[in-house]
């Protein structure tokens, strides 16, 4: 990068940081809207988001599934390393001053923060990478880059009415992907993938196909209550579970895609100070 471009980048990051600092803080333990964690300074969060974008772009990823940890690792149940995931889609972004920029837009399922909307309901919100990294409490994010064929299919689904159709606004932190009762951010991404894989937006068919092919992460109930119970309030709903508590995570999503030849690569991306 030239000195001039470095200076421009530094100015942009500084201004973005000021903007980020002005936004209201919120808890960042899950998929809550407006999540802002104290782990990164706003400048670091802006740099981290751009590092992630550049890495995805270098790999030719037009869509990726990116995961952040909104709680410290010592506060997460065994087998769960990340608490929020979303699609990062390569787009042309029109700016307020009429420019067209190339970069990633982020497609999230956010639970309410209890202010903008109830905590047990979710909405689909498109924002940008800086919004994503601001909610991270650790120096890494996880990435799943689908195979090019799956990338094309997923983007087609995101740009179709099926994207809204498979959204279930009833939110649970540990929604069961084998049930239709509740949904969280990872289950939503799994459902979007299912539409792309099986060419159907029928929820019943999707659930049947996932039961046949997708193996969810099993969360130990003791760990669940110990880690999530104190902060989870109404969002810890488990009446969609029968037997062990099943939910979708980065780990089980990556395994499903690898096992079925749907994966280009999955990896952990570290912040570079």
């Amino acid at each position: 990068m030239s000195l001039r471009r470095r200076a421009a980048w530094a100015a942009a990051v500084s201004a973005a940081a000021t903007l980020a600092a002005a936004a209201p803080p919120a808890l960042a333990q899950d998929s809550s809207a407006h999540a802002v964690a104290a782990h990164f300074t706003p400048e670091q969060a802006a740099a981290f988001s751009k590092q992630m974008e550049r890495d995805l772009a270098a790999k030719g990823a037009r869509v990726a599934m990116v995961f952040r940890a909104g709680r410290g690792r010592d506060q997460l149940p065994e087998g769960i390393s990340y608490t929020h995931g979303a699609f990062w889609v390569y787009r042309t972004i029109k700016t307020a001053d009429g420019q067209s920029l190339s970069g990633y837009a982020v497609y999230n399922l956010y639970a309410g923060d209890g202010k903008a909307w109830p905590t047990i309901q979710s909405r689909l919100v498109q924002d940008f990478p800086l919004d994503f990294t601001r909610g991270s409490t650790v120096n890494d994010m996880a990435v799943i880059i689908p195979s090019p064929e799956m990338q094309r299919r997923i983007i087609a689904v995101i740009d179709s009415p099926a994207y809204q159709k498979v959204h279930n606004p009833a939110y649970s932190l540990v929604a069961n992907p084998w049930s239709r009762k509740y949904q969280n951010c990872n289950n939503f991404m799994l459902d979007v993938m299912a539409v792309a894989i099986w060419d159907t937006d029928d929820p019943e068919r999707i659930t049947a196909d996932l039961k046949a092919h997708y193996k969810p992460t099993i969360v130990k109930a003791n760990a669940l209550l110990r880690f999530f119970g104190p902060i989870a309030d109404k969002r810890l709903r488990t009446d969609d579970q029968s037997g062990p508590i099943r939910t979708a995570t980065y780990e089980s999503l990556a395994a499903f895609m690898k096992d079925n030849g749907l994966l280009q690569e999955s990896y952990i991306f570290n912040y570079q100070p």
Partner: protein, 119 residues
């Protein structure tokens, strides 16, 4: 420095709640404020997004989901979606150095807020 000062003054307009969703008159005023903020941000190198383009048709691929129900059912093989990855791979993509922000990334209208009464 002057630009950053202006930016700091304008930031509360970005961070604060957008309460003008149900009133045409107020919505117009809010739009003006957003434009002002956007211009300050742009002057500082941060780009405020207005819109995100849909993907070009050549990238979107061949799946058509709109209202469709396929003949596929439970147990159908997943391999069809795996495709020919090598043939479909694209090269590196370009990412702009500038940081993009959304002036209102999520709705800020409290869900319990009653609709304004008739004037």
């Amino acid at each position: 420095m002057r630009t950053l000062s202006l930016l700091a003054l304008a930031l509360p307009l970005v961070a604060g709640p957008a309460l003008a969703q149900d009133s045409a008159a107020n919505a117009s005023a809010a739009g003006g404020a957003s434009s002002e903020v956007a211009s300050h941000l742009a002057a500082s190198g941060v780009q405020t997004a207005l819109a995100v383009s849909v993907v070009p048709a050549s990238v979107a691929g061949t799946v058509s989901m709109v209202g469709g129900v396929s003949a596929a059912g439970a147990g159908v093989e997943v391999s069809r979606a795996a495709g020919n990855s090598a043939a479909a791979a694209s090269g590196p993509l370009k990412v702009d150095d500038r940081v993009v922000v959304a002036p209102d990334p999520a709705p800020h209208v409290p869900y319990a807020t009653p609709a304004p009464g008739p004037r």
